[in-house]
Symmetry: C2
């Protein structure tokens, strides 16, 4: 369909999300701002504001039909989750969130009452995270969306990056993982059953109440960061789980130039998450490793420093090691003892290669 | 279609954009942050970062089909304009822009080359405005969109708000106005002709080159703010023209609790804007007063202070006065001498009442 002299056009799927971020970085060039500590590439940008203090800036958008399904996303949870996702990026730099702006993209089928309920969820998050909304806008949009930016603050020396992991560190995760994905599975099946069976369908989501809540209204782990500050400890490396544990551990290893050994039996998984996987006849390890949207923290810390941290607040899931194989920096020891290379988005069995 | 016990739902059009912002403010409650100088309600939020310095934060989104038409919006201009719109909000507080985050919402028909061209436009704006992009993301979306947040900085005493206008001030505007709307008219007609006549159509947009550029790639008035700083002067009140001159003057009057007398013959209008209005058989005053998207600055200043400002950089278009009629704080003296109340979105003839 192109005219003969039209320039060549490449489908975005050819280079993927990370390829596109590389295009952005290449096109924008290296930043030269003297007060900028970290630009594109970590969970949030970091820039100095004087007196050894830095501010952090992050932004994230939730769009209907892509990041959430209005059929099962209560508007209050939507507001809360949009805030959590952004606060989590600030927390993942070991910093405190402070200010937020919220832009609500309104499609024609959104009512005043729905908008009000979204703002109630945002307010709930503001109370939970001590954040003040300082700017807000509503724009017409083809689909409902929430675009949030959050400014955080920290002492410059307290900021923790994903690139600080050291050989010998323990690899840890807060809370439990895989629940958000399990909740999504339950919600999607419930909607399908409702569509197929109509009014005859008697939904029973009680066995999934925890995992559903983890999907719809995940909390950001601000308390963990505050506990570390109170205990006077800092992780070497820190990242939050948005894409999935395997992906985040790869980010840490790549940025830190280290490898990691994970132990699958050590992964903290809630019984309800296990039951959900069983119900769907699926491997709960897949939920935990690749499910994503947990918004728990992955961190690395020397064993000695871990002694100062409440043992209830985290689980050791592996070790930071020298990477033996550049192609496969992350290894996963499975329950049967087999040690397999882990990929960011799936298992990588030697047999299949 | 609602179930009998479904809560009452109100269409957003019943309360409008400003009604919705009121809902947001009411639901979120009064901010209590001690370092927050100004939250929702001006062009940007203002918060203290120490040593008499403040940061400013603003965010704005451009969405295809709502804020721009891809049929005539070059991708490079789109990137530039998304930055300009946000930088203009910082400039409209008499501050310097510093950092930006950019989220590109990609629909399936956007290619790598288009994304790259968008980033080239963003880079051009970064160079023009001394802004560093510190964070960026790409998200899947139903339509192409650019969501930008900008952090600015200023000494706290230098920030100028929309609410500072004083009786006796001169009401001024930078540059010329109405051109952006004229450019949009020319672009829309050109697209229609192309659709109707197909390959037989020979577009000639030369007579509209200035107004089209003003629509597609409007510059933010950063130079004006820098000139004021160099001259050691500050306006009493300041706002940028996004919705249209009449609307912005109403914002200033409402926030400052004053009235204004505008003189239509004084409005700075480029000859090409006049010619475009003539070509379309329309009143160029409507373009200038209600067209919007000019991103020029409206400011009020005492006459004595104006002496220090380059007279080429602004036009006096009216006076700030005591409001005689609370219902009609803004009056417009038309070319024929008639003095009519001006509404934010149109003329208000006494005859029609």
């Amino acid at each position: 369909m192109d005219a003969p002299d039209a320039p060549h056009q490449t489908d975005i799927s050819n280079i993927g999300e990370f390829g596109l971020i590389a295009v952005m970085r290449d096109t924008l060039g290296e930043p030269s701002d003297e007060d900028l500590v970290t630009g594109i590439g970590d969970d949030a940008a970091v820039y100095r504001v004087g007196d050894g203090e830095v501010h952090l800036l992050t932004t994230d958008t939730l769009t209907e039909g892509i990041h959430f399904d209005r059929a099962f996303m209560p508007m209050e949870h939507l507001g809360f989750k949009a805030m959590s996702v952004n606060v989590s990026d600030i927390v993942a730099m070991n910093a405190e969130p402070r200010y937020a702006t919220v832009t609500v993209g309104l499609s024609q089928n959104v009512t005043v009452e729905m908008a009000e309920t979204i703002y109630e969820g945002i307010r709930e998050a503001c109370d939970a995270y001590d954040v003040t909304v300082v700017g807000g806008d509503t724009v017409s949009a083809h689909s409902l969306s929430l675009s949030v930016s959050v400014v955080g603050e920290a002492a410059e020396d307290d900021v923790v990056y994903r690139g600080g992991a050291q050989v010998g560190d323990k690899l840890c995760v807060t809370g439990d993982i895989g629940a958000s994905y399990a909740g999504l599975k339950a919600l999607v099946r419930n909607r399908q059953q409702l569509q197929e069976q109509g009014e005859d369908f008697q939904p029973n989501l009680d066995p999934f109440s925890y995992v559903i809540r983890r999907h719809l209204a995940p909390p950001a782990q601000l308390k963990t960061v505050r506990d570390w500050a109170a205990a006077g400890v800092q992780p070497h490396a820190l990242i939050d789980i948005s894409d999935g544990l395997a992906s985040e551990v790869h980010h840490v290893c790549e940025a830190s130039d280290v490898g990691a050994q994970l132990y699958e039996p050590a992964l903290p998984i809630d019984p309800e998450t296990r039951n959900t996987a069983t119900e769907f006849g699926e491997d709960v390890g897949v939920y935990a490793l690749f499910g994503g949207e947990d918004y728990e923290l992955v961190f690395t810390m020397p064993e000695a420093a871990l002694d100062a941290v409440d043992p209830q607040s985290y689980t050791v899931i592996g070790d930071i090691e020298r990477p033996e194989d550049e192609e496969h920096p992350v290894l996963l020891q499975r329950a049967d003892g087999e040690n397999v290379p882990l990929q960011p988005g799936g298992f990588d069995h030697f047999d299949d290669e």
